[in-house]
Amino acid sequence: MAEYKGVMILGEAKEGKLATIATELLSGGRKLADDLGQELSALLIGSGISGLAKEAIAFGADKAYVVDDPLLQDYQTDSFVFVTEKVVKQVMPQILLLGQTSIGRDLAPRLAFRLNTAASLGCLELAIDPQSKLLLQTKPVYGGNAQAVFTCPSFPQIATVRAKAMTPLEPDQSRKGEVITVDAALDPSAIRTKVLEKVAEKVEGIKLEDAGVVVSGGRGIGSAEGFKQLEELAKVLKGAVGATRPPCDNGWMPAGAQIGLTGKIVAPDLYIAVALSGSSQHMSGCSGSKTIVAINKDPEANIFREARFGIVGDWKKTLPAFTDKLKELLAQ
């Protein structure tokens, strides 16, 4: 029987380039492959995506498997499971990594059941167990209150990885690798869904995930008007505004602004947490921030255990003065 060997990542494309998450997976996958002394490959699925192979190799892949077919233009569960299953059975990687994206979250579990193995979704850390050589999959559970380390004794071991959990390598354009084309051989009638429309929701200003500074508010902000003040500070710092779950549930902020386990994950240089308690579920969306600053009137609030600097006090009094002073300092 052939042996399972190597690490494979699914490289999602975005606007004709390798998505950031794919470069993060290549970096994480490179380390695992090196620890095992095995190869790292990238699986690229889509339509008109063969150009990504070179990029994947520059970011650390030894091989790139390209499945390029007009039927793969849009992500659809049936077509992507079919193609991934086909390539996995051909290549037999020990480990298959995907991003914790709307694609990875759909594809990974379905594929795990199809291949009679298992997956862990939303991992923060991956490592090779020195004894068993199995993949140690660490992920938040119980809404971020705890973390769990899972292993899966069957191959391939499948995991999805959260955004920003890994840092991409510097691309090396001189790296050499092999590009292998795989025929999709899809039967269109086997695709049981149809994508009628794709809607990109526009964000004003800087995208939360890309912002260097995030100003975030919690239940204590109290209203949509309150968030206007956070927006002003964000504007001064050229940052973006986020929120915990209650402001989004109450309609003070759009659902897309939610940061946390059930929302977006950010890792800015500066995270300014205003009138939010710092629940585990929220912190798991921002704990990767370089510096956290907290303004909260409750000195016992959990956020002060996470923050580097803090003010105990009413945000309504402190925030305007803070914004004014920063304006002054940044103008100098």
Partner: protein
Amino acid sequence: MNMIVCIKQVIDPEAPPSSFKIDPSANKVVPPQGVSPVIDPYAEYGVEAALKIKDAKGGKITAISLGTNQSRDIVKKPLAMGADELVLLEDEAFDGGDSYSTAYALAMAIKKIGEYDIIFCGREASDWNAGQVGSGISEILGLPGVTLARKIDITDGKARVERVTDEGYEVIEVSLPCLITVSNEIGEPRYPTIKGIMAAKKKEPIIWKPADIGVEASKIGAAGRHTKLLKLFQPVRGGKCEIIEGESPEEAAANLALKLREDKVL
């Protein structure tokens, strides 16, 4: 329209973080004292999705829940919200499972129910955040599936599902029967009405044991796991926070700005 919703009883995820304790020797969560368990919030979104369709088109909703020590008051909530039947897979043999053994048992129970147009699951459960049971059930039953739904319309025997994506959303058309996992964007689940609560009180759940749904003992509960939990732990946060003071809140704020500048954070 026949609908099935998979639900689950969990530790209240809104309980204060300080009440959350684990027993590291057993790799288990210690249920917090004095905090009542709840229906998993994501599963409640699934119930809400089914009720919206029932409101518009009529139909029957069967809720199904797997576990032991399920409090009747809690697992009856879908009935109080407007579901019609409740099936409990209640047996110690179902204990200690993961997404794989759970999806298998639920799929076998759904097969026994037999008639269904849509199966709903939450996009994940708030305890293990695995996010796989829904996909697993659709795979085992050979059904098409759509995950992360935020809106569902039924027209001409097909479902049009708005699926949340990283960029916004997409509209997917899927034939029935199918499985749909529901995300929080579907909107707040309704509160049970007094009438609903009274009706739920009178309604007895249907209890199924492993033999009733024809499962293989090696594929359910702990025996049927595909994953191994090596370690469960609470991450230690050792951050030391410097509290910035001032004569007035305004002065403290100005001092904080100066401090950030000084430390070259900005």
